[in-house]
Amino acid sequence: MESGALVEIRDLAVWYRVYGGLLKVLDGVNLTVASGQRVGIVGETGCGKTTTMKAILRILPRNAVLPRGEVMFQGRKVLGMRGRELQELRGQGVAMIFQDPTAALNPVFTVGQQIMEVIKYARAGGGPRERRLMALSALKEAALPDPERIMENYPFQLSGGMRQRVCIAMALATARTLLIADEPTTNLDVTIQDQVLRLMRRLVQEKGTSLILITHSLGVAREMTDLVYVMYAGTMVEVAPTDELFESPLHPYTVGLLRSIPKLTGGGIAEGVPGRIPNYADPPAGCRFAPRCSRAMAICSERKPEFFDTGGVGHRVACWLFAAGGGAVV
């Protein structure tokens, strides 16, 4: 394990027990987040981004099975945590912002009650009065007007953008080491998206919080992160510093993904990546992208490629095309 890594996920597999079998969703995920880093994870809907994040917080559904792999947070094994250690991880270590702020807030409790409960279990110290002040200042930091009033509001009295700001305030009301944002702007209006992202970027920077941003928008990833992981069907296929990835993508899937961005300057509908994510009940034996890949070779459907080093610093790709070039051990 690299020293200084905040989060280190090694060869993580997560399966879901369902009626009639197993869905092998995550198949050997590797992910490293250094302290203070802002990491993006991009990929299609259903490729396992959220499952990976839930594994970090140990909030996977009951039917999840973890056959192999390890998740480390600040050098401690998350999967073996119990009781107090787990409570500390969730209460003080990692905060998560969900995709739909409407669903992520309890409809029958006021914003204030909900934020103060989070502060309470973050063990930030102090009594109810102090918790109230912390909640108020968190709302103010999240650029919400009239925090006093919003404390007394119920979620349904706020707009979608305000709800997501409330969620951000909740996540960052107390000091956190890592913030996980799971498509935080997907459900918001385009104009609001930008404001919310900017707010998040500012707060993360000010507080020195590390960030994992899940998104299927490459534009958002480019603007918000230092490092991007590209995920496909339960595996990481490529990782590179953000600028490097956009300038010289290597994996055929990444290339297709970048091509599928509609350009404002014309050119019509983008090419995209033909085909769909494989069936998790019976995934391809080798590289999971092989059936959709226009450059697939014989080995691709037989053996799963490891991460190979490429020429670029910190740029690695899981594709047999680059096995020889990088000189990696197979």
């Binding site: 209460g91 998560m96 309890n106 409809p107």
Partner: protein, 343 residues
């Protein structure tokens, strides 16, 4: 919308409902075939006596005049005389209503506390043996009418394992308190008759539980299913992710929204308790208003029928208003928007 306006609006609506009920019950009682005066005096009474009674009861006047006179009496607290007991209906109701109210209030408590508790426990250990047991018992509870439970209870506690009384409100030999409110429990407390209080309480247990089981089972099922539904929502997951203990999430953040459907259904169940109370009162030989009402109907005792139904109508609307207030407390969308917006 403020709470004050909410209550005023509900009260106004209730008055309208009660006015409608008064017309309806007045007409129905009179449309039913059979001459109440003849029935009261028996087949051998001479025609002039029957005629006199008809006059006395205003039955010889046109319907709208009868209604006017009846409502006038009603507003003055006079429900007329019962043909059956030959006493003012008001006095009869005063005697019988408190007994039924005691059973119904107790049943409602058993129903609410037991139902919610079982629902929460079931949802805490979904698909465990306990959950399955509750499920089976709940189905039994829902499909079995309360009088069957009453008979079963009498059998068990009257013959096989006589640890609880199965007849009446008080054991013979226990000194009853003077009648002040009519509520035996209250009266015995007021006058310091603790032996009577304990005995009356013991007499309440079986009838109330028999009456409550159906509604309790229903409440347990609904509480469990809405808890399970809310558990799957993001806000529950978010709270787990924030390190809030599951016990707190379940009993506070999930229970509050989950109780909304439970409470709404319970309102209907509580109203139904009065109806079901009749058979249970019969089985336990417990002198209550439901039994009185049925006797009145069988004998076409006009004033008693209309009186009992109006009183029950008032109680129903009151229960409904209380339940609406509870729902408004639980659901801010109802309180602040004046209507529920789903989920």
């Amino acid at each position: 919308m403020g709470l004050g306006r909410f209550i005023v609006r509900r009260l106004a609506l209730s008055l309208l409902v009660l006015a409608g009920l008064s017309v309806l019950i007045f007409l129905i009682a009179r449309v039913v075939p059979g001459d109440p005066a003849r029935q009261a005096l028996g087949p051998r009474a001479p025609e002039w006596a029957v005629e006199n009674l008809r006059k006395e009861m205003n039955l010889d006047k046109p319907l709208h005049v009868q209604y006017y006179l009846w409502v006038k009496g009603l507003l003055q607290g006079d429900l007329g005389k019962s043909l059956l007991t030959r006493r003012p209906v008001v006095d009869d109701i005063k005697e019988f209503l408190p007994a039924t109210c005691e059973i119904v209030v107790f049943s409602a408590l058993v129903m609410a506390i037991g139902g919610i508790l079982l629902g929460v426990l079931s949802a805490s250990y979904p698909n465990s043996w306990f959950d399955n047991l509750v499920r089976v018992v709940a189905y039994l509870g829902i499909v079995t009418p309360s009088f069957v439970w009453a008979v079963v209870f009498v059998l068990i506690f009257g013959y096989i394992w006589p640890i609880l009384p199965v007849v009446g409100r008080l054991e013979m030999g226990v000194e009853a308190p003077p009648v002040f409110t009519g509520f035996l429990l209250l009266d015995s407390l007021i006058f310091g008759k603790y032996e009577a209080f304990g005995d009356a309480l013991r007499h309440l247990i079986l009838p109330s539980v028999a009456l409550a089981l159906g509604g309790m089972a229903q409440a347990a099922r609904i509480t469990r299913s809405s808890l399970m539904e809310n558990m799957g929502r993001d806000y529950a997951l978010a709270q787990v992710a924030y390190g809030i203990p599951w016990r707190v999430i379940l009993t506070k953040y999930l229970l509050k929204p989950s109780l909304i459907p439970t409470v709404s259904v319970m309102a209907l169940d509580i109203a139904a308790l009065f109806a079901n109370a009749f058979l249970v009162e019969l089985v336990f030989n417990y002198p209550g208003i439901s039994g009185y009402g049925i006797r009145a109907m069988l004998n076409k005792d006009l004033n008693a029928i209309t009186g009992v139904i109006m009183v029950l109508g008032v109680i129903f609307t009151a229960v409904n208003i209380i339940v609406d207030l509870v729902v408004a407390y639980l659901d801010p969308r109802v309180r602040l928007l004046g209507g529920s917006q789903g989920g």
